[in-house]
């Protein structure tokens, strides 16, 4: 592939990864408003406007969060690197790059959690630790789902058995993506704002803008990853075609996730953990059983 074409594909993909998440959030907000018979934000660009406006405010950092700005910058750098690798993987898919992407995603999650736990606000801490509990379960699911999904695609041979395996692994990885997006019923970190609020309550101005942006990029990344893997491994198409499919499918899944969230209530930490562990275990066992038959 020509160097220029490669660079162009990567740059286009990067730009889409950078621009799309807040835009999709704007679309999700509009759809959710429609479902709830509200007007919602005036435009689908509203989340972008929010981020830009917050960024223009004064920087105020509470004392216990003094160093959080550096951790945020580090998380942003890791996210951008993840986006680059997700774009690069279109040109040359290999398992090593995929491993690095997974490590980077988990590292970004860890950094964001670390920032949250620095808060001295007990109400925030309650929410943060709820979120942390769900994250621990889900990260395990994330780590388990990737190899199953990878193997399902790699060994796909159009048989019923491989189709079932692929179906299980797709279900698994998208449940993990959904839970990782911290939407209802798993938005426990910000649950019961009267009792427990997560990290968001501690941030304002540019810090909040950065946190929101990182969160939205993370939501989009964990949806785009399995789609990228599927197209990268399963389909031999040009980078631009792959790029088109990835972002269209990812955007669709993102919006479906948003619409599903509008139809659900909030879980409770004990119910959420038990349910997720049960679902993940059942899928893993079912996958192994089908594989061994």
């Amino acid at each position: 592939m020509a160097f220029v074409e490669t660079v162009l594909a990567i740059v286009t993909s990067m730009l889409l990864y950078i621009f799309l998440p807040p835009l999709l959030d704007g679309i999700e907000r509009k759809i959710r408003a429609k479902i709830q018979t509200r007007y919602g934000p005036p435009t689908i660009l509203q989340t972008w406007y929010d981020i830009i406006k917050l960024s223009s405010k004064e920087l105020r950092i509470p004392p216990t969060l003094q160093y959080s700005i550096f951790l945020f910058i580090l998380a942003l750098s890791l996210s951008i690197t993840t986006l680059y690798l997700l774009s690069y993987i279109l040109i040359s898919f290999d398992i090593y790059t995929l491993t690095i992407i997974i490590v980077l995603i988990i590292s970004t999650h860890s950094l964001l959690i670390l920032v949250s736990t620095l808060s001295s606000n007990p109400f925030s801490i309650i929410g943060v630790f709820r979120g942390l509990t769900i994250d621990i379960v889900n990260e395990m699911g994330f780590i388990a789902s990737i190899p199953l999904y990878y193997l399902s695609i790699k060994t796909f041979d159009s048989s019923v058995k491989s189709f079932i395996l692929l179906l299980f692994s797709i279900l698994f990885i998208f449940i993990v993506s959904y839970v990782g997006s911290k939407r209802l019923p798993y938005d426990l970190h910000e649950a019961e704002p009267e009792l427990a609020s997560g990290s968001i309550i501690e941030f304002s101005g540019p810090m909040l803008a950065l946190y929101l942006y990182l969160h939205l990029i993370d939501r989009y990344t964990i949806i785009a990853l399995p789609i990228t893997m599927g197209i990268g491994i399963g389909l031999a198409v040009t980078p631009f075609v792959s790029l088109f499919f990835i972002h269209v499918i990812a955007a669709l899944v993102y919006i479906i996730f948003g619409a599903v969230a509008a139809l659900l209530g909030r879980s409770r930490i004990d119910i959420a953990v038990k349910t997720l562990m049960l679902i993940y275990l059942l899928i893993i066992i079912a996958w192994i059983v089908v594989k061994l038959i």
Partner: protein, 572 residues
């Protein structure tokens, strides 16, 4: 007169006209005939004057009888009339539609009476309030301030007749200003926030003692914004009070104005035109529908199901518009007056009301079907915030809170008022006692109210809507009770020359709040907001911040100003 003869004749008269429970109660009371001064029956009220020494024994005897509960207690300063303070314990006998009112006179020089709180737990707050407001001493119990603020001057009891409202305003100045100066915060605005608002964002204060995510115990503190409405009412004319009464609650104020008017009408034997009774019932049921829709929305919001919340309030909006059509206001209707109502309903309005009811019934049915099928909603409602029937009976609970625990109690059926005797309706009860049961009671009641409204609108009789030919006879006792959306509201009134001599208001939350700590024990922290909201509480607006360090066994109050300053300094 021989008091013994009077007692016996009074008792015989009551027994002859009373059914089982009231008759049994009178028989038991007559065991103390030397200290029972008189028994009178008028309408559904049996007034029994007793000596203060036998009060605990009487309450003990009543506790044995099933179907009797403490509805309210009024303490009154009657030194100007008979040189005594008087306590009126109102016990209800639901099945026989009768109120037993025990009147205990306390000499002004020695206003002491044995407590009954160890026999009847529901009397706890009534005794504390009587102590605060009139200085009545209840023996053999710990007395502390319930209603009055901590910095209220000692020995100033605001319901005593020697204090006027203006004098009380001079006597009490909150220490908040001095306190603000002490902490160097006199120039900042005090904003009531937190420590947390478990539900409905009102001035409730719950201390939840938690281990991990489990609530191991809970404590409630309230009465932070006592408005002195009863005292204000004593200085207003009879027809002015309904407008004040309606402002007691921001959601279901009409129940209070109705209850007040009924108390006056009951005391003075005023005949209210039938059409006015129907109009009162119509507005009361509309109020119940919009209140329940509001609650359903809030409950779904607390469960994170905001789509349900939005739709519930969308449906409610039509009911609010209907209320405006019928009364001229979305809320605080101001149509109740003693002897009737001030605003009529014509056929055009009836037709429009039926259209709205059709819409609400269909839309609410859909909403309920969808919401109940949301897995998180059912999972978090079922089995949480359980209140056993025994506790509901012991605490004399009322409304959907009681009915959700299987206690079949509804003023509309048990003490018929307004036009409820002309319509048929079911009283939904559930025995589970959990948040789901209380939710389903309200859901069923909404549909029942819609059905009732169809009947009321259909049967609305012709005629006048107000009886203006009534006159005041002082020192007569009246009771007015209404089944509000949150439960029974009861107003007890002693008439005066130009204004109520004493007006006692008891809202349902007063009766139901002591049940919350029981419901909260052992539940998950995440379910605390919904559990508190499940009684549909009605508070008003202030908060205080407090930090409890269980490990160090210390309690530290933090003024919100200090928190604010600390936060401001921190980010400089």
């Amino acid at each position: 007169m021989d008091s013994g003869e009077a007692n016996m004749s009074g008792a015989s008269m009551v027994s002859a006209h009373s059914t089982n429970i009231v008759g049994d109660a009178i028989s038991k009371i007559m065991e103390f005939k030397d200290k029972v001064f008189s028994i009178e029956q008028r309408g559904g009220i049996v007034r029994i004057k007793i000596h203060r020494d036998i009060l605990p024994h009487i309450v003990q005897r009543l506790a044995i009888l099933k179907g009797i509960y403490l509805r309210t207690m009024m303490a009154s300063d009657e030194r100007g009339l008979e040189g005594v303070y008087r306590l009126y314990y109102v016990f209800g006998v639901d099945k026989e539609h009768t109120n037993l009112v025990f009147e205990v006179a306390l000499p002004q020089e020695d206003p002491k009476v044995p407590t009954v709180v160890d026999i009847n737990r529901a009397s706890d707050w009534y005794e504390l309030e009587a102590h605060d407001m009139l200085g009545v001493e209840f023996l053999n119990r710990k007395l502390y301030r319930l209603v009055l603020p901590e910095d209220w001057p000692e020995k100033v009891h605001p319901l005593k007749k020697e204090y006027s409202v203006s004098e009380l305003l001079k006597l009490y100045r909150p220490k908040a200003v001095e306190y603000a100066k002490e902490i160097g915060a006199e120039n900042i605005v005090t904003i009531p926030i937190g420590p947390y608002h478990p539900a409905l964002h009102e001035p409730e204060f719950f201390e939840l003692y938690v281990r991990g995510e489990k609530v191991i115990d809970a404590r409630y503190m309230g009465f932070m914004v006592h408005r002195g409405i009863e005292k204000l009412g004593e200085n207003m004319k009879y027809d002015q009070v309904p407008f004040l009464a309606e402002r007691i609650c921001g959601i279901c104020g009409f129940v209070h104005s109705t209850s007040y008017c009924q108390a006056v009408e009951n005391a003075l034997d005023i005949d209210v035109p039938e059409r006015a009774l129907f109009i009162r019932s119509i507005i009361l049921e509309i109020e119940r529908i919009h209140s329940h829709l509001l609650w359903v929305g809030v409950a779904l919001h607390l469960l994170g199901y905001d789509t349900g919340f939005m739709h519930s309030w969308r449906i409610r909006e039509r009911v609010m518009i209907l209320a405006e059509l019928l009364t001229g206001s979305r809320k605080t209707y101001g149509i109740n007056v003693v002897g009737g109502v001030r605003r009529d309903i014509d056929n055009d309005k009836i037709r429009k009301a039926i259209d709205v009811l059709n819409y609400v019934r269909e839309e609410f049915k859909k909403l309920v079907e969808i919401s109940i099928n949301v897995p998180q909603v059912t999972a978090r409602l079922r089995g949480t915030g359980v209140l056993p029937l025994g506790e509901a009976i012991a605490l004399s609970l009322v409304g959907p809170t009681a009915r959700g625990s299987g206690l079949d109690r509804d003023v509309r059926r048990d003490y018929p008022y307004a036009a409820y005797k002309y319509v048929s309706f079911r009283v939904p009860t559930y025995s589970e006692g959990d948040n789901l049961a209380r939710t389903l009671v309200r859901v069923d009641e909404t549909f029942e109210s819609i059905d009732m409204l169809y009947q009321l609108l259909d049967k609305l009789p012709s005629g006048s809507i107000r009886n203006e030919s009534w006159s005041v006879e002082p020192y007569r006792l009246g009771i007015g009770s209404v089944e509000a959306p949150r439960g029974e509201v009861i107003h007890v009134l002693l008439t005066g020359e130009y204004s109520p001599y004493r007006w006692r208001v008891r809202a349902p939350t007063y009766q139901n709040l002591p049940a919350i700590p029981i419901m909260l024990k052992g539940i998950d922290l995440a379910d605390a907001p919904l559990t508190i909201a499940s009684i549909d509480p009605c508070f008003s607006c202030t908060d205080r911040a407090i930090v409890v360090d269980v490990d160090r066994n210390t309690v530290k109050s933090i003024p919100i100003e200090a928190l604010s300053l600390k936060g401001t300094r921190a980010i400089r």
